[in-house]
């Protein structure tokens, strides 16, 4: 069987056409959220920086040493001794509604779940190209040294949420500085707090629409 140059070109362009028309549909699907939209509040005025959440996250999700899904970044001290203050910033996946890491993923491994809005990674599809690591404005993604694929916070979807519990960090917090719940349910504790309190979202100007809200301690910087 012989293939002419013309046949080959026709076949290739047909394939390209299918690929190009297929991709935007997948993207549109990933942006649709039905019913539940999980989000979180980090109350920076209540956080004491004990890092119990970091430990709980590592333990529950079996995050290997050297990498972390969740970090509490401490800054300070501000002011003179003994009236000094520290600030604590939660560095973890923001679960953006407009998701840079999903937009750049060449295999569709990185996706936003239509059923609950959690930004997740399908480890079977991830090829470890690190494009999402570079694209994330919050720098929260890493390559898991054990699984060799991209990893990050998934609100404990596969661990605590799967057994009907709150995420590990929320459960571990001694001062209840973390609130987790459905943003689309007006009666959920998180939605109630959001309408009452002043909150900010980190790097909101990028248009990422993160679902991680923060109660500011002192001056708001984003």
């Amino acid at each position: 069987m012989s293939t002419t140059r013309r046949d080959f070109m026709v076949g290739m362009s047909a394939g390209a056409l299918i690929l190009l028309t297929g991709a935007p549909r997948a993207l549109a699907n990933s942006m649709t959220i039905k019913g539940v939209r999980y989000g979180m509040i980090h109350d920076e005025t209540a956080c004491i920086g004990c890092t119990a959440c970091m430990d709980a996250c590592r333990e529950v999700n079996q995050v290997p040493a050297g990498v972390a899904r969740l970090q509490i970044l401490r800054s300070g001290p501000v002011g003179e001794y003994p009236a000094q203050e520290y600030r604590f910033f939660r560095k973890s996946c923001q679960h953006c509604d407009n998701v840079p890491c999903v937009h750049v993923c060449p295999t569709g491994a990185s996706h936003i779940r239509a059923e609950d809005g959690i930004v997740d990674i399908n480890p079977d599809l991830c090829v470890g190209c690190r494009y999402c690591l570079a694209a994330c404005p919050y720098q929260v993604r890493f390559i898991n040294p054990v699984t060799r694929v991209a990893d990050k916070c998934d609100f404990c979807r596969k661990t605590n949420l799967a057994v009907g519990k709150q995420p590990a960090c929320v459960e571990a917090c001694p001062t209840k500085a973390l609130v987790f719940g459905n943003l689309d349910d007006p009666n959920s504790p998180i939605a109630k707090r959001l309408v009452q309190e002043t909150t900010y979202r980190y790097k909101q100007f990028l248009g990422t629409s993160p679902k991680m809200y923060r109660v500011p301690k002192g001056e708001v910087k984003s």
Partner: protein, 209 residues
């Protein structure tokens, strides 16, 4: 065969003798230089020698004094109550002498036991009868805020709110906070702050809560 062994023995003997001669020659070379070096060092050290002796004597006397002071207290406060920790050996930067019981607990009068459990003139740490500032002031008279911050940032936000002895214990041989595993340290924070949060105290922490 016997001849070979004889030759080997001879050869080894010769080698040993040669090495001995070499070593003695080297020693002879080295000895004339040595006295001159030590004498110059002596000259440099001589002015401080008297000082050093005086210092050593002073230290000895101070240690004796401290030992006597400890002994006085330990007549009654012995066993577990006594000082087994690092503070039994360290120097008080304010006096230049060894830390004694009275450095921290104050000068107790002879009949301090009769005065309602010694509340009046003996400083008790972690006891509500003494104001927090007074208790922590004792520790802060030697321990600078900067050093404490280097050890753990949380000192900054607790120093005026809870007693140092809420976490630290000076008398046992092993201070529980020194070399505490990270997990245990976090548990300390969590246990205390959870109680405080559940009690609805907000920002102000009460001692012993």
């Amino acid at each position: 065969m016997k001849k070979i062994i004889k030759w080997l023995l001879l050869a080894s003997l010769a080698l040993g003798a040669g090495q001995l001669a070499l070593a003695s020659a080297q020693a002879a070379d080295a000895t004339p230089a040595a006295p001159s070096a030590t004498s110059s060092a002596d000259q440099a050290a001589q002015p401080t020698l008297a000082e050093r002796q005086a210092k050593a004597e002073k230290k000895k006397a101070a240690a004796k004094k401290a030992a006597a002071r400890f002994a006085k207290c330990e007549k009654c406060h012995d066993g577990e109550e006594g000082m087994h920790g690092k503070h039994g050996q360290v120097t008080n930067p304010n006096t230049g002498e060894q830390v004694t019981c009275t450095n921290c607990h104050g000068n107790a009068s002879a009949d301090h036991r009769k005065q309602r459990g010694g509340m009046v003139d003996v400083m008790r740490f972690g006891n509500d009868a003494f104001p927090l500032s007074q208790q922590n002031g004792v520790c802060m008279s030697c321990h600078e805020p900067d050093d404490l911050r280097k050890a753990l940032w949380a000192h900054d936000v607790h120093a005026t709110r809870i007693s140092c002895t809420s976490c630290h214990q000076l008398h046992p041989a092993k201070e529980p906070m020194v070399g505490i595993p990270e997990k245990s340290r976090i548990k300390l924070c969590v246990d205390c702050h959870r109680k405080q949060h559940e009690a609805g105290l907000g920002g102000a922490v009460k001692e012993g809560s």
